[in-house]
Amino acid sequence: MTDTTTTTAPADNQVRKMTAVEAINLALHDAMEADAKVLVLGEEVADPQEGGVMGVTKGLSTKFGEDRVKSTPISEQAIIGAAIGAAVGGYKPVAEIMLMNFVTVAMDMIINHAAKLRFMSGGQTGVPMVIRTMTGAGFSTGGQHSDYWEAWFAHAPGIKVVAPSNPDDAYGLMRAAIDDPDPVLFIENLPSYWTPAPVTKQIIPIGKARIAREGSDVTVIAHSLMVTHSLAVAEKLSGEGVSVEVIDLRTISPWDKETVLASVRKTGRAVVVHEAVKQFGIGAEIASVITEELWGTLKRPVERVGAAFSSVPFSKPLETAFAPQPDTIAAAIKAALA
């Protein structure tokens, strides 16, 4: 596992700037074009319903037909069940669960079935499907529309968990997720959906982290929107003479221990950042493994940054205080450097 890339080199000179919405749309398009077994389903995903509430699947049903791109009733259990059945039946479905809080309705299908069927059948029935979902605080949508629950799925053997931090990764990880023989939960960040960035159209391997910025004093490990925040903080701190290495996990399960440990072995200090509630979040596992593996090397305990222990609040000042912000991350980095 040494093919970690520091920066992604453009594959050709067709690098275009696009939003994550466009990048995921393109990834779905390219995957459907490359493989007739790829299907898309979910609420509103077909064009008569405007190709998704955010337009992520726009154009797909018009091009590939409403047999392969199916708008569903509001029935998350049946959506995931249909995807599992189709996957077991030889297809590669990409199911959308509109927001991450709604996965709660389909947990049986995801946890007891999608994640377990390969093991329970002794390898006879793989479930090559992708569950796309979006989330993230910042839009004043309150307690039931912005949660990050990646820790639940990372704790569940049999399902992979991926969370891109930018349009290029969104494209590359989506292509890899669709090709993966196992179920992949694909977490999109809603507030950064429309921030354009270059997209190289390279497929990005699942299970590999990316060193988003090199540094020597401290390692920040993040995913999704928190990578953007961490990079901004790193840039700012470089002005203060602090060299921050930022690792974009890209895949949360199985996560790339090699890359993380190599970095912390070098810096001796680590901060794990996620938007999910801090307590019992994925930062705890990553901090524990770093501590176990690098005991003696580690100069300070691993710092963890996550949301407050509450539901996502509606009122703007509370919502801002709830989720990790650049200054929270900066403070944690300084604590790690103490």
Partner: protein
């Protein structure tokens, strides 16, 4: 439905008052949002005013209701305090939920408004539980579960209607069928004509009524509520209606059938009811104008007070997670 009880003139005027409050309040919210003064996801109930207005005239503060993100009409019809509503929408600590809930979680237990949910279908299991509580209380309370046409396809609908029927609970399931679930027209999500036909599969009465017609809506609700109070169990009411402002305020609505939309506009229940009140001599133009002016004035007050109030302190993040404040 011809043998439904009909609202008397005073009740009809009462229905109009509630509906006018909903409509004027909706218009004001939209204005404030357009002006950038309110920032929130807003699911306008414009077009659905009659449904909760015609139901609520048969309810008391003791009766329970659960509703959904598109539920401000249900709330106002049942008497949600306007000041606390506006303060909540503005995210202020004087809001009914101290600004922590926002538009999707409006709650006012004093007036029986127990739960507003942003999860499709989830008003129903909880309203079923409130029906159980109501039955145990022995005070002839009823519990109203509001939900949309799209929600009738989710598992929680099935489990709730079945349980309420088996336990003979005083629950009225009100499906506000506005023909769309987000961008999905009903034709895409079910292979039957009437959602009310599902009631037979649970052993409860099911009716489809014109939810925009105060007579039908009042009658169907009254029969169901009386039945529930009498201990005879739940009813499913499918109330046909339309949402004029699309799903979420600001969307383009390209998915909507243009003919359907035009017809719905012609059928807008608000001018129709207003004209009828005048035609039937229940109220004259001046009286209605005075009612509307009074509502507008109350909104002015609520809105001004809301913006004047402080935001909640960040210490609120530690409160109400558990009953005891987190250390």
């Amino acid at each position: 439905m011809s043998n439904y009880p009909k609202p008397d003139p005073a009740t009809l005027l009462e229905i109009y008052k509630k509906a006018a409050l909903i409509k004027l309040n909706d218009e004001r919210i939209i204005k404030q949002m357009m002006a950038g003064k309110l920032v929130m996801p807003y699911y306008s109930p414009r077009g659905q005013e009659i449904i909760p207005s015609a139901i609520s005239v048969s309810l008391t503060d003791d009766d329970y209701i659960c509703t959904i993100y598109r539920g401000i009409h249900d709330m106002l019809a049942k008497g949600f305090p306007l000041d606390e509503l506006w303060a909540e929408l503005a995210g202020r600590v004087t809001g009914t939920c101290k600004g922590k809930g926002g538009p999707m979680h409006l709650t006012c237990p004093d007036k029986g408004m127990m739960v507003t949910t942003g999860i499709v279908g989830s008003s129903m299991p909880i309203a079923t539980g409130l029906g159980w509580a109501a039955k145990l209380d022995g005070k002839n309370r009823v519990s109203i579960a509001n939900f949309g046409d799209g929600a009738a396809n989710i598992g929680a609908f099935h489990e709730s209607l079945n349980m309420a029927a088996v336990w003979k609970l005083p629950v009225i399931f009100v499906c506000q069928n506005n023909l769309y679930a987000e961008h999905t027209s009903v034709a895409y999500s079910r292979a039957i004509d009437k959602i009310s036909d599902r009631a037979a599969g649970y052993g409860m009465p099911g009716v489809t009524v014109n939810g925009n017609d105060p007579d039908e809506m009042y009658g169907a609700a009254k029969v169901a509520i009386d039945r529930a109070r009498a201990g005879e169990g739940p009813t499913l009411i499918e109330a046909m209606t339309f949402r004029f402002n699309g799903h979420l305020l600001g969307e383009a609505g390209h998915y909507m059938d243009k003919g359907l939309y035009a017809q719905a506009q012609k059928d807008d229940p608000m001018p129709i009811l207003r004209a009828r009140l005048i035609a039937d001599g229940i109220a004259n133009e001046d009286e209605l104008a005075a009612i509307e002016a009074d509502i507008d004035a109350r909104i002015d007050v609520a809105l001004a007070a809301a913006y004047d109030a402080p935001f909640p302190d960040v210490a609120e993040l530690k409160r109400d997670v558990f009953a005891e404040e987190i250390a």
